[in-house]
Symmetry: C2
DNA sequence: AACATTAGTTAGTCTAACTAACTAATGTAA
DNA sequence: TTACATTAGTTAGTTAGACTAACTAATGTT
């Protein structure tokens, strides 16, 4: 039982550090990349959307978005609800994501060497279930 | 492919926060608990052993051990090699681990609800393979 | 004997999280 | 419709846990 969660924690650090190394030449951190990934894959999102998805508090999102705005990879639009700020990718942002997605895919493919498609799927399902079981804050 | 690694990262945060909440009443953080866990399950270990196991740099281990020494949960012995410091659990440390292991086990059991033993095993194997594939720093 | 390596520490930095306290807009209920 | 509660986001300050660089002391190697 323990090795399960222990290993999970153990993977997280070196994976992040690989990602950071990979993204450094593009001027992105792992979480910044994670944010543009969501905006590309899921579409424009509010700060609260992101905080909910990541399961972090709202103030944690602000500085990550700030830096992407400075780099002109995202911009803020106002929603129908005037309290909301909706983040969108700029054209630069879309380009940057497409560029980096390729190398991230390559990393991920290499990490999955020796793992069958079926094993990957089962693991994905298990991880999704864990996430659901973790929901109760 | 992406959901796989995305989900993995997503699990890590709320899992840690559950662990922190659980361990707070015992005066332990998640990593401190992780260290006494190793000392109990694997036996006395040097700072370098821990750094290697966790895949962190050596200075990261020092403050975590410090706090356990202050709490008198571990003590430092000198190895045959006089450069080495070997961490051992004190009797208090053993007690504290046994106490907390129970509640950690309970948490982990609850998180695994809805996951079959076979799925759990496959996932564990996949996580181990990922860890190996990540080895190249 | 001289030099290189290894174990661990100290000092200082960084990222990404947190809480508390706030403003402004929206929703609800008298 | 006015009063109050809630929600979206920010600002300021803190924290945990990582990092690098530079160091001491012990051990290995040539």
């Amino acid at each position: 039982m323990q090795p399960f969660f222990t290993t999970l924690k153990l993977i997280s650090r070196p994976y992040s550090s690989k990602m950071q190394d990979l993204l450094l030449p593009f001027g992105l951190t792992e979480v910044q990349w994670g944010l543009i990934r969501i905006l590309y894959e899921e579409g424009p999102s509010t700060f609260t959307d992101i905080a909910t998805y990541w399961r972090v508090e709202k103030p944690s999102v602000t500085p990550i978005a700030q830096k992407l705005i400075e780099q002109e990879l995202i911009y803020i639009g106002i929603g129908h609800d005037k309290r909301q700020k909706v983040m969108h990718l700029t054209n630069n942002g879309v380009e940057k994501y497409k560029e980096t997605k390729q190398i991230v895919d390559t990393l991920q493919k290499n990490l999955l060497i020796g793992i069958t498609e079926q094993e990957r799927q089962i693991t994905e399902q298990v991880l999704e279930k864990l996430l659901v079981n973790l929901k109760g804050r």
